[in-house]
């Protein structure tokens, strides 16, 4: 997974292997540097501390109503944060479609349709970019979950949409 974050108005890009749980020490890339991450303490609700290169940091993540991070306190020091982009948002959902093969894609949070790249009737391959949905200043690339033909597109460019609204359908 690639994450693009803004912290104090600076951009950072992180690469974390999909299956990573950080329950054992794991290397990740951050702006091309490598660091080791390991979960420290956690409870059902949240991670309370985390090791970076064997140094333990106390963390508290601030989230908006949709559950997206807007800031982080690290050892009491606050950094405003902004999640800009995730390259594969629905890792598990994608896997799931292997068996389910559903072509229906819905919005997961309210937001705005920034750009639609394809139109009804177009042929798509699994993984092709169909449209970009912006929510909480984060751009989500919505890709085709299966190969096929676009049956319908439920939104327009610039449209403000609600959660769980039909974005497009492929058969």
């Amino acid at each position: 997974m690639k994450y693009k974050f803004q912290l104090d108005k600076k951009n950072f890009e992180t690469v974390i292997a999909n299956s990573t749980t950080f329950h054992s020490e794991t290397e990740i890339r951050i702006n091309k540097q490598r660091v080791n991450i390991l979960i420290g303490e956690y409870d059902e609700k949240e991670i309370r501390s985390i090791f970076l290169d064997n140094k333990l940091y106390q963390v508290e993540v601030e989230k908006n109503n949709e559950g997206y991070p807007t800031g982080i306190y690290i050892d009491g020091e606050y950094y405003s944060a902004n999640l800009l982009k995730i390259d594969k948002l629905f890792y598990y959902k994608e896997k799931e479609t292997v068996s389910k093969k559903s072509g229906t894609v819905k919005s997961f949070i309210p937001g705005n349709i920034v750009k639609i790249f394809l139109k009804e009737g177009d042929t798509v391959k699994e993984g092709n970019l169909v449209l970009v949905h912006e929510a909480m200043k984060m751009e989500n690339e919505m890709r085709a979950p299966i190969s096929g033909t676009i049956k319908s597109i439920g939104v327009k460019e610039g449209e403000n949409i609600l959660a769980n609204q039909l974005l497009f359908e492929i058969e």
Binding site: K10, I37, P69, Y79, A81, K93
Partner: protein, 500 residues
């Protein structure tokens, strides 16, 4: 079943660290400490440690910690021998002391007579002037916005506008010019209680130092002076960082501060524990006021003496004499002591007070530092009260080591669930300006602005790495849960195995 007619009962109508210090000190000399607490404070550490505790019916200040009649009624009902008001609340209220004296309840403090002299800041300065003590230039009382004209033209702006009576810096305002002053004054006078007593103006020197002299005077007039405390570093007139001794006054000046203090407290026959306050500007001192009660910074005299200040206060209040003090004794400091105030407020959100339940709390003290706090894991920080939640002191022979130790110790404290000013304090402690001793009244406004601190590239990278890792795990967990839900739906496995 427990109805002993113990003659050593003390009632404590206060809260937080203040109540804790009183309970702990007076319990250790065998007194039965009886706490009055508001419903909001029901789970406080003070309730846990007091010998007995009685709940006020309301958490509103005027119906609890500030309710003179209710407190006195309870004192009579419980047949207590003493009331220790702590500081703040009713600790400097002459009326409360007068009512207690009427009912023959002994209140720890200098008595209603001294308190009413000390309360009126203008009258007190007149007394000082008559004794030849230089005072801060002050205006006449201002009771309506028309009175603002009474401020002499010779006064230089900026000026400070202050209520005539009453403690605490919350209602003090600095004004830059006459127009702002008139506006602010009429605003201040909109408060009914402020209007009744009036306000006054004094000159404000941003480049000056705020110096306090703690003292204890016994009934025979013997005085013990403790090393002076510099408490210039203030945020909105709340003392954030204090040190003792001050490195900003000469020995000559120090001596004159003690001499001024002596004259003044002898003149008003102050018996008990208090602090004289001075503004020091360009090497000259100006008497400002007297704090007639034990204060937030009591740990400083305690460390200088390596003794419990409150036990001494109690003894003096009971007519005991100072030990080893005949006449005047000025204690020489062996250490540089630093003290910071821990506040439940968010420095990253304009210092807004923070309240809630403390979910994690730990610290580790060593021989050269001291941490007193009402916090514990599970403690409730109430939005109803002052955000002051603790004090931290370090001491060492050399000032730079005190600073280093404080810096180090602040990193040994972890508090979660509420926001605190810990990182702000670290910022203050790390400033070059503080290290070099340039601690003037405008320190936090001009010299050490929190919002202008820099972060390193490394700090940002650490933050980014941590945040993305946490987000990754959260997201994974969320997706995993959704997956599990899907698997529970009828037909999931059928669809899965259709493939094979």
């Amino acid at each position: 079943m427990i109805n002993k007619s113990d003659k050593n009962k003390v009632l404590i109508p206060n809260r937080g660290v203040i109540a804790l210090d009183i309970i702990d000190s007076l319990k250790s000399i065998g007194l039965e400490t009886i706490l009055l607490y508001s419903p909001e404070d029901a789970n406080s550490l003070a309730v846990k440690l007091a010998c007995r505790s009685y709940k006020f019916l309301s958490s509103k200040l005027e119906d609890s910690y500030l309710d003179r009649e209710m407190i006195i009624e309870k004192a009579l009902e419980l047949n207590v021998d003493y009331i220790h008001p702590g500081y703040g609340f009713l600790a400097e209220d002459p009326e409360f002391f007068r009512l207690c004296e009427e009912k023959n309840i002994e209140v720890i403090g200098p008595g209603s007579k001294v308190l009413s002299i000390v309360e009126d800041k203008i009258e007190l300065r007149k007394i000082a002037e008559d004794l030849g003590i230089r005072v801060l230039k002050y205006s006449k009382v201002i009771k309506s916005h028309l009175d603002y004209e009474k401020i002499p033209e010779s006064f230089h702006y900026p000026l400070i506008l202050k209520p005539l009576k009453g403690q605490g810096g919350k209602r003090i305002r600095v004004v830059e010019n006459k127009a702002r002053g008139e506006e602010r004054a009429s605003k201040m006078l909109q408060r009914e209680d402020t209007k009744r007593m009036g306000i006054f103006a004094e000159e404000f020197y941003p480049d000056s130092h705020h110096i306090e002299i703690p003292f204890i005077r016994d009934i025979n007039g013997n005085i013990l002076f403790l090393p002076e405390i510099e408490s210039s570093v203030q945020r909105r007139f709340q003392k954030i960082f204090q040190e003792s001794p001050s490195i900003n006054i000469s020995d000559n000046l120090r001596e004159s501060l003690y001499e001024d203090s002596r004259k003044l407290i002898e003149e008003i026959n102050f018996v008990g524990l208090g602090y004289t306050e001075f503004i020091v500007n360009n090497g000259a001192s100006y008497f400002s006021e007297i704090n007639p009660s034990y204060q937030i910074n009591t740990l400083i005299p305690e460390i200088h003496m390596i003794a419990n200040f409150l036990k001494k206060q109690f003894a003096i209040s009971n007519g005991e004499l100072l030990h080893h003090v005949k006449g005047i004794r000025i204690l020489k400091p062996k250490y540089t002591i630093l003290l910071v105030s821990l506040m439940a407020e968010n420095p990253f959100d304009e210092f807004r007070p923070s309240s809630g339940i403390v979910t994690e709390f730990f610290s580790y003290s060593t021989i050269r530092n001291m941490f007193k706090t009402s916090l514990y894991t599970g403690a409730k920080v109430s939005p109803l009260y002052d955000p002051y939640i603790g004090k931290i002191a370090t001491f060492a022979e050399r000032r730079e080591n005190s600073i280093k130790d404080m810096n180090n110790f602040l990193k040994n404290i972890i508090i979660k669930g509420i926001r605190t000013n810990l990182n702000f304090l670290r910022h203050v402690l790390n400033s070059n300006c503080l290290f070099s001793g340039d601690t003037t009244i405008d320190f936090l406004n001009q010299k050490c602005k929190f919002n202008e601190r820099k972060r390193t590239e490394e700090e940002h990278q650490v933050a980014a790495a941590l945040l993305s890792s946490i987000f990754h795990i959260d997201n994974r967990k969320k997706n995993y849960k959704e997956q599990l839900e899907k698997m529970k739906q009828p037909g999931f496995f059928k669809r899965l195995f259709k493939k094979f």
